[in-house]
């Protein structure tokens, strides 16, 4: 199964990248952890995100669209980075996350979410929707 693993933000990560000994050590530890993920054949993708102060949100309500500039308030619910892993089951994903070095200076959380499989969408897609998704995938393959 494929899971997305979210590194949740903290006050520190929201403050932006500070280069100090602790950060350097964490990057080293994280590099070694990523190396283990690759060697184990489960790592598909992953990256880090800039603080939400660089981000924007668009709020929807009926026909209205309101753009909200970051930073966003609920720090602990924000995402600071992610991986995509291919694992046997959730238990394996949990085992790997337990081995991850703490990605933040203080207390932090990592969240694991399984992807929907194509079959989950089967009933939800009308032939029109299916055709549109098909076109989109073709366009994405082109880029």
């Amino acid at each position: 199964m494929r899971v997305m693993v979210f590194v949740k933000a903290t006050e520190d990560s929201e403050a932006g990248l500070t280069i100090d000994a602790e950060t350097t050590a964490m990057f080293e530890a994280m590099g070694r952890f990523n190396e283990e993920l690759i060697k184990a054949g489960i790592m598909m993708d992953g990256d880090g995100l800039r603080p939400s102060s660089d981000g924007k949100r668009v709020a929807f309500d009926g026909a209205s669209r309101t753009v909200i500039d970051g930073p966003f308030a609920e720090t602990r619910e924000l995402v600071a980075g992610y991986w995509i892993w291919q694992v046997k089951d959730m238990a394996e994903a949990v085992e790997w996350v337990k081995r991850c070095p703490n990605p933040m200076k203080g207390p932090s959380e990592i969240e694991i979410r399984p992807f929907y499989e194509m079959a989950d969408f089967e009933a939800a897609l009308s032939p029109t929707a299916e055709a549109i998704h098909s076109r989109n995938a073709e366009a994405m393959a082109k880029s």
Binding site: K39, D45, Q86, A137, K142
Partner: protein
């Protein structure tokens, strides 16, 4: 739990005791002691080192027990004791070695030529993939006792061969690597051939093989054929969701809904292929097959398929990996690139090959080419012949439908 360390633990212990069966038991003991210990003391900083040390203690305990027994029986004194100490020291020294390629050594052992193809696949899934005997049996549509016996015999054969669990070097490496790649691809194809509605463990074999391929690519990052095989599997697996209709019937590559192709896997596959080619491996059998799969993956629609390039790749593949089936596919590619008459001439040249005598795709391909060449009367007979050779009810129905349309 412990899927993370299990394979490397067995590998490390196998190198010391030189017996996979014993290494597996020692690893199990070590995992059990970790289960008792870790909840109290927390996960150690280096779990693998902890587990290896635990396994080592077990190995030495077992060794000493055996020696004690032998001593009681033989009542020899001083000499044996001296020898025992040296042997224990050797054992300890071997355990302290910094083991980097232990897992690779175990993979090569599990795919050793002294084993049959079935034994290699079962042992690789057991030792490296960590699948249970029951899971392997379900995956290969066979009984649990059969698989259990297959594994026991394989372990015995390895013990008798007196392996050192080292990674082979030089000329031997390439030959042994070919065997490893063949085992991984066999596991992949076993999963790929699973049909809709079957036990989910069978399609999961594809994921298992891809994982083995990625592990191997991590351990041998400069071997082009390892990357070629990985690329081939990633690209083929990208179509797993698109190749069957809701009723379970197969969908031809050209008719598949490309929206269902997994773009993440395609990207990974293309990247692996690029690395294989950059390492000078463009003409390896797996890299060539991956390049063929990549031609389809790159085409946004079936009409965009670069058939002349596919035809050229098949020309090369036919030289590297000659077989009547490759020739047949080559003929199809040429017919798509340069017209049905070109393809027909090539098919006629191989039509008498004994390997293709009862091969349904041969008359099916011939029927299709004749039909496209505007010769429906001749096409009909070939479609009917193909239908009578087909083992698959749905495929038979499809071929008879084509015969009727001629």
């Amino acid at each position: 739990m412990f899927r993370i360390e299990r394979a490397r633990l067995i590998a490390g212990l196998a190198r010391v005791v030189r017996d996979v069966g014993q290494a597996e038991e020692l690893a199990q003991d070590a995992l059990v002691s970790a289960l008792a210990d870790w909840p109290r003391s927390g996960i150690p900083t280096n779990p693998l080192a902890w587990l290896l040390a635990a396994g080592k203690r077990r190995a030495i305990d077992g060794f000493r027990r055996k020696e004690m027994l032998a001593r009681k029986h033989a009542e020899i004194g001083r000499d044996l004791e001296d020898e025992r100490d040296t042997q224990v020291e050797d054992l300890e020294a071997a355990m302290d070695d910094d083991i980097g390629d232990e897992l690779l050594g175990l993979i090569f052992a599990a795919c050793h030529p002294v084993l049959s193809a079935e034994q290699r696949a079962a042992l690789t899934l057991r030792l490296i993939g960590g699948l249970s005997t029951e899971e392997i049996a379900r995956a290969f549509l066979t009984s649990e006792p059969t698989v259990a016996q297959r594994i026991v015999r394989a372990k015995k054969a390895l013990a008798n061969a007196g392996l050192d669990f080292e990674v082979p070097r030089g000329a031997e490496l390439q030959a042994r690597l070919a065997s490893v790649l063949a085992v991984i691809y066999l596991i992949f194809n076993e999963g790929y051939s699973a049909t809709a509605g079957e036990d989910l463990i069978r399609p999961a074999l594809c994921a298992e093989a891809q994982r083995l391929g990625r592990i191997l690519a991590g351990l041998m990052p400069d071997e082009p054929e390892v990357l070629g095989l990985l690329a081939l599997m990633e690209i083929q697996a990208s179509r797993l969701n698109a190749r069957t209709a809701p009723d379970g019937s197969p969908i031809l590559l050209t008719d598949q809904n490309r929206a269902r192709w997994d773009q993440l896997l395609i990207r990974r596959g293309l990247a692996a292929l690029q690395r294989a080619e950059a390492l000078g491996g463009a003409n390896g059998p797996y890299a060539l097959q991956a390049a063929l799969a990549a031609c389809h993956a790159r085409a946004r629609t079936a009409e965009d398929t670069d058939w002349p390039r596919i035809a050229g790749l098949y020309d090369t593949l036919a030289g590297v990996m000659p077989s009547p089936v490759v020739e047949l596919n080559r003929a199809v590619a040429h017919s798509m690139a340069f017209g049905p008459e070109t393809g027909l001439a090539m098919v006629e040249a191989i039509a008498e090959a004994p390997a293709l005598r009862s091969y349904a795709p041969l008359p099916a391909v011939r029927g299709d080419m004749l039909f496209r060449a505007g010769r429906p009367e001749e096409a009909r007979g070939y479609f009917e012949a193909a239908a009578s050779l087909s083992q698959n009810a749905r495929e038979r129905e499809f071929l008879l439908g084509r015969a009727a349309a001629c």
